[in-house]
Amino acid sequence: MKALCWEGVNSLAVRDVPEPRIQNRQDIVVKVRLSATCGSDLHLVGGYIPFMQRGDVLGHEFLGDVVEVGSEVRNHKVGDRVVVCSFVSCGRCWYCRQGLYSCCDNGNTNPAITESMWGFAPGGVYGYSHALGGFAGSHADYVRVPYADQGAFTVPDGISDERAVFASDAAPTGWTGAELGEVRPGDVVAVWGAGGVGQMAARAAMLLGAERVVVIDRYDYRLRQVEQVIGAEALNYERTDIGSELLERTGGRGPDVCIEAVGMEAHSASRAQYLYDQVKQQLRLQTERPSALREAIHHCRKGGTVFALGVFAALSDKFPMGAVMNKGLTLRGAQQHGQRFIPRILAGMASGEIVTEHLATHVLPLSEGPRGYELFKDKKDDCVRAVFRPGG
């Protein structure tokens, strides 16, 4: 079958790879309808997360049709249209039972790497390096889905593929930030990043009752989506003093909840800060460029919550611990606990309160995968997400 593979740093190619098969009794095999690029893929493509091997299949946000079912799968049958959570989680360990699905004890087949880096291993992720299980990704004709009764969800009729595919990762990741950030009715929420995850975090905050939601980015075409589709407020940090704006919009208090949806390759209004982080990152003296996280911490109100939703790999420099401690902030972070939120999100998609298809600005055949990542990475042609249609 055809798949989009990582060939080396900044090198991708579509090539022939072996078809997946049922390996565990709780597996299904899915024929992929749509598979989306994600900002976190860019860290892999660029070599910032050095656990990829030549030939690894990328892609973790997808939906498709069930074509094969393992003997212990109870919730799915051949022909079901399913959206699959990007995290591989067993659903039965203590962490899964607490709703912390991305922290699953059993979903990562290579726990040694992340135990050594982070102390303990999170679950696995499709197409997201050998540090997170080495599972083949979804930018392919077919993909194997372990623990299918936990991670695959039948898509109700009436939800388009282009909407449902984002129930795999962008929407539940955004929901994770808003819910675990404890957004409450009446809150003012600031979100750094107007990509798919940032927009979904903003929408989740609104649905959880936030009074005002402000999204910060530098790309006007994304900020227009924030205003016109999501219904949140938008600020362009290249033309606006973000600190002053947030103070004015919160009566001098600062946002109650600040959600960082940018991650380890952030840009900054401060040229000096960006260059400092970029040089240190390129020299591998730090793994992140955490400027958006620093800003979120700086601007959050006293006693507020900062949620790190963007992907970070290891070590950040110049971390403003003084602000965290002296302002009494709650600092949280998480990969998405999608199994907990996807049913709610699919219901919202069915009712129309969660809209996502505008994110799929470029739907391309899988054969154009490398070009899709180029559009996505370089923000060409107003690309928000390139989405691949295998066989298309």
């Binding site: 900044n10 991708l12 709780q26 091997q53 030549r54 059993n106 087949t109 080495g134």
Partner: protein, 146 residues
């Protein structure tokens, strides 16, 4: 195909992989975590009555080379499964790797009924640059902090 700015980043990625590989493999006579006869432990998310008092299959298969202790976890967190090598602090590294793998396997079998397999056959192409990472992933469940 997109291909840009490979040099320095690729070298850095290779170096990082090698360093992690060395860290994960825990070189040295007693490993990174101290003597090889220390207790290793996992917590199974099942009540003690469901885990039983006999060593689960993967640990039982290691025979007299391991001692096993089973006890309730506090706070309703399930059942703690402890195991240690009986061969003393200088037991072979292979025995410690087998013990870690057996503990992880026992936990997964008890909680989920089977052991999750990595993707096979994979599409990975062996290269000199990814050799350290391949070495690590070949022993993914045998190493780590456990």
């Amino acid at each position: 195909m997109i291909r840009r700015g490979v040099g320095a980043a690729a070298a850095a990625a290779g170096t990082a992989g090698a360093l992690v590989g060395r860290a994960v493999r825990g070189d040295g006579p007693a490993g990174r975590s101290g003597a090889r006869d220390r207790w290793h432990a996992v917590t199974v998310n099942l009540p003690p009555a469901e885990v039983g008092t006999a060593p689960p299959g993967p640990l039982a298969a290691l025979g007299d080379s391991v001692a096993v202790r089973i006890e309730p976890a506090p706070g309703g967190k399930g059942t703690e499964l402890h195991a240690r090598l009986t061969g003393g602090p200088n037991a072979p590294a292979e025995q410690e790797r087998a013990l870690r793998a057996a503990l992880r396997e026992a936990k997964q079998r008890l909680e989920t009924g089977e052991v999750l397999e990595p993707t096979r056959p994979g599409s990975t192409e062996p290269t000199p640059l990814n050799a350290p990472l391949r070495l690590v992933t070949a022993h993914g469940r045998e190493e780590g902090r456990l």
